[in-house]
């Protein structure tokens, strides 16, 4: 043991050399802002585009329109049908991923330097000129409906959809952005065109690029790709009120292991206490083996394979969420332990030792995120959407280190509301006191 202690003391002194991620902000000739990290070692570029609003832009009676529209972008564009388009993309060995969530639609592309222009031209067609051919609509609609049918029998999906509905009601956050079997079945081609107009506009666009490209080339690329987009899209939905209260809701489902989702009001990303809450979460249930919940629920009692919590500061509301899964005859005990830990944390806060360890972990783990061109592009666009400064990466660990014990414990008392912590349990749980069965 001695040699290990010695090594530990030494390493604590030398914090990891900072991963140098040098971001440049560029403005294209036509006025589009993009963040760029030049990295010429490998001859390709990762490009990340995001359009704020996402699935929350659906009109109430058109739920699932943005999701289905996003799924159809690569299913034929310009004069190419779905298969011709796919072959063309394969012929330049580029890859493009399209995704939609509650807050944005994202396009994640990577293309080789040797045929960048051809790849970008194909991407441009998908963004500007998707065909929404009737056959393609029906094919992708069937895939979406298939996924929705699966969700209706998936305890994890049932739990999270039930929680969202209880937390947000009629707000877009209150329902699955993929839509329902009924709403997706009723979507028309015109609905998809409207969703396309709602999403793709310059007033909600964020751009990040990492790789074998310089500022001038990127400026030209983003102009080619994006300058012709309309100036504005659909108005953003209003903020959502978190309406969920304390208690336990059971959704009966015949399966051996109960799945629980739990949560309460969270904290906005721009709240001055956000870092204190972030550290607090790391100590309570932040996913590592050292968290209190992992120690109490898994390591000491063997009640679960995993238990975790996370801050979910979304654009229009903030939640503090968690999840656990235990056999039907053990979930009640897991819920009790989590509720107890929640209350204990609210009342007593964390120790100096826990705070120090969490800081060391968080500051040390931060550079591990920057492990490739695509992850860095993704992080840069996230920073822009959150309104963070371009030098944030260099200052972030200092902000973590500046959080004091008093701050964390004040935030623990203010943020954690054991009486408002709601559990949705899907399964056939035994012995859950006072649960309401839905």
């Amino acid at each position: 043991m001695k040699h290990l202690i010695a090594a530990l003391c030494l390493t604590f002194l030398a914090l990891p050399a900072w991963a140098e991620v040098e971001i440049d902000e560029i403005t294209s000739p036509q006025g589009i802002t993009a963040w760029l990290v030049e990295e010429h070692e490998i001859p390709f570029t990762a490009l990340e585009l995001r359009f704020r609003g996402g699935m929350s832009l659906d009109p109430a009676d058109k739920r699932g329109a943005v999701y289905l529209m996003t799924g159809l972008l690569e299913e034929g564009a310009g004069d190419m049908d779905a298969r011709e388009y796919a072959r063309a993309l394969e012929s330049v060995a580029a890859s493009v991923g399209y995704d939609a969530n509650d807050d944005y639609v994202s396009i994640s592309a990577r293309f080789l330097t040797e045929n960048r222009d051809e790849a970008v031209a194909l991407l441009r067609q998908a963004i500007h000129d998707p065909r929404f051919d009737p056959q393609a609509i029906e094919r992708v609609r069937a895939q979406v409906l298939s996924g929705l049918a699966s969700d209706l029998k998936n305890p994890n999906a049932i739990a999270s959809n039930t929680f969202s509905q209880m937390a947000f009601g009629d707000h877009p956050y209150g329902s699955d952005g993929k839509g329902s079997i009924e709403s997706v079945g009723a979507l028309t081609r015109d609905d998809l065109l409207a969703a396309h107009d709602a999403v793709f506009a310059r007033d909600r666009l964020y751009v990040g690029a990492v790789g074998d490209i310089d500022a001038e080339e990127l400026g030209k690329l983003v102009d080619d790709l994006l300058a012709d987009l309309p100036a504005t899209g659909a108005p953003m939905p209003p903020p959502a009120e978190v309406r969920i209260d304390g208690g336990t809701t059971v959704v009966e489902f015949d399966t051996p292991q109960s799945v629980a989702v739990f949560g309460q009001q969270g904290m906005a990303r721009d709240d001055p206490d956000f870092f204190a809450a972030y550290i607090l979460n790391q100590i309570l249930g932040g996913g590592s083996f050292e968290s209190r919940l992992m120690q109490e629920v898994r390591e000491k009692r063997g009640l679960t394979y995993g238990v975790y919590t996370y801050l979910a500061p979304r654009d229009l509301a903030a939640l503090y969420m968690g999840g656990v899964a235990s056999a039907n005859d053990r979930i009640a005990q897991a819920v009790t332990v989590i509720r107890d830990e929640w209350a204990k944390m609210a009342e007593n806060g964390v120790t100096q030792d826990e705070l120090d360890k969490a800081k060391t972990y968080l500051t040390g783990a931060y550079p591990l995120r920057f492990d490739g061109n695509a992850p860095i592009a993704d992080i840069m666009v996230g920073m822009q959407m959150e309104g963070l400064p371009i030098d944030y990466i260099a200052t972030r660990n200092d902000m973590i280190n500046a959080v004091t014990l008093d701050e964390v414990n004040r935030v623990a008392a203010e943020l954690l509301h054991p009486e408002n912590l709601h559990f949705v349990v899907v399964g056939k749980p035994e012995g859950l006191q006072d649960a309401v069965t839905q």
Binding site: L8, A14, L145, K153, S326, Y361
Partner: protein, 448 residues
């Protein structure tokens, strides 16, 4: 079978169709310690970060009969006490150094890894070498950890009818090979796992001459060699390491069928598997042809099955083909069809068989093959952006008996495959009399 919240290696194997390795472009060096431990160093100096992985040539297919799940159970227990470290101290120390750690188990290997700032590598090596031989398991950790793996089985398999079905498919595909038992174990055998089972597996297989060290990231190979010699190099080889001779699958001479019903099934589907050869050192041609065959048949919008079952006709909402040749023993070639609304499983199966027969008759579209090969060449460039992926590629290959040369030759072998080779592989493997067909259903249906 990761220790926490990540995908199950055996499942990943089904989705990783492309194994295009880099040639020359990545900086890879390798050497062997005196005690027989193989070391691979992959340099990537773009960020001051390193990943250490130790791969043991021991997985669930090496378990004694009746003790399914013990390889994975031991993987969990390796995070408990050693002579010098308390239970949980390993991960706590990694975390205290700002690092992340985890482990995973598959049929042919068990691997442990840490990602950490490059200047902490020596400490990681000290700790990993420590638990290679100094584990001190006690009875009190067995019961709670056994409950954890039972909950893990609930989460991955018990709560997922498709996973239960896939487990049955494997059990029917492999009559004699241990690939027929799930990596996580059969529940009744997991419930009976004791301290002695775990220790027996540990003492038999955890030794430097049965391990591969892969270090990837911002490191200097000479420095890695020094550190490895001081840590792992101090551990004597296990002279009693048993030869890796496992029960082999006999030739399949009769088609096999199964049906599985579960009220929780939302999307019925047809699965098909065939016994298939794996990559062998110095003889990877057949595996290369099968790798391309899986891409041609099931690699997305432009694939043969998508074309025939999703575009020309609306038989399916999803089709897929999977082949993972990085295994020690005979592996399987798998196909899946999720029928479209109103299409029965029988109709979907008939359409699948017709599509396969037509494909073998017609041959490979040379333009499609060219596009796939181009994408695989590009994948070699993209792969350099993911040094952890490269570490996995080398580690898994070496753990199943391939060499570094095999890994580096692989892309050229794939590029040299012809359309005729692929059809020959299809004829050899996709034989109706040597097939397993499974129907995943909502409720028992009257078949035929």
């Amino acid at each position: 079978m990761l220790r926490a919240f990540a995908s199950f290696a055996a499942t990943i194997a089904l989705t990783q169709m492309v194994h295009a390795a880099d040639t020359g472009s990545e900086a890879v060096s390798s050497f062997e310690l005196d005690n027989g431990m193989q070391v691979v160093v992959i340099e990537d100096h773009r960020a001051p970060v390193v990943q250490q992985m130790v791969w043991y040539r021991a997985g669930s297919a090496d378990e004694p009969p009746g003790s399914s799940g013990v390889a994975h159970f031991l993987e969990h227990l390796l995070f408990k006490a050693t002579d010098t470290m308390a239970a949980g101290e390993f991960s706590a120390t990694v975390a205290a150094n700002g690092g992340q750690d985890n482990a995973f188990t598959s049929y042919d290997y068990t691997a442990y890894f840490q990602r950490v700032a490059a200047d902490r590598l020596n400490l990681m090596m000290q700790m990993e070498a420590d638990r290679m031989v100094n584990l001190r398991l006690t009875e009190d950790v067995i019961a709670p950890e056994r409950n954890v793996i039972l909950e893990e089985r609930n989460q991955r398999t018990g709560n997922n009818p498709r996973a239960l079905f896939n487990e049955q498919m494997s059990a029917v595909q492999y009559y004699n090979s241990r690939y027929g038992s799930p990596v996580i174990g059969w529940r009744h055998e997991m419930e009976a796992l004791e301290l002695d089972d775990a220790l027996g597996f540990y003492r038999t297989y955890y030794a430097p001459n049965n391990a591969i060290l892969v270090v990837a990231g911002d490191v200097d190979p000479a420095a890695v060699r020094d550190m490895a010699q001081q840590t792992y190099g101090a551990i004597p080889a296990n002279a009693d390491l048993p030869p890796r001779e496992r029960a082999q699958e006999p030739p399949q001479r009769a088609a096999r069928r199964l049906t599985f019903s579960d009220a929780r099934v939302a999307q019925p589907s047809v699965s098909r598997s065939y016994l298939a050869p794996e990559r062998d050192s110095g003889a990877q041609d057949k595996a290369a042809a099968l790798t391309l065959l899986a891409e041609i048949l099931g690699g997305g919008t432009t694939s043969v099955l998508a074309e025939k079952l999703q575009f020309d006709e609306t038989v399916a909402v999803y089709t897929g083909a999977f082949y993972n040749g990085t295994t020690l023993d005979d592996t399987s070639f798998d196909l899946v069809v999720i029928p479209a609304e109103g299409v029965s499983l029988e109709q979907a199966e008939t359409a699948l068989d017709k599509a396969l027969a037509d494909f073998i008759e017609t041959g490979v579209d040379p333009e499609q093959l060219d596009r796939i090969k181009l994408q695989m060449r590009a994948a070699q460039i993209y792969a350099r952006d993911n040094v952890n992926g490269l570490a996995n590629r080398y580690g898994s290959a070496l753990a199943v008996g391939l060499s570094i040369d095999d890994v580096q030759d692989w892309p050229d072998i794939v590029q040299a495959v012809t359309g005729e080779d692929i059809i020959a592989a299809a004829r050899a493997v996709l034989r109706p009399e040597a097939s397993v067909t499974g129907w995943l259903m909502r409720e028992p249906e009257v078949s035929q």
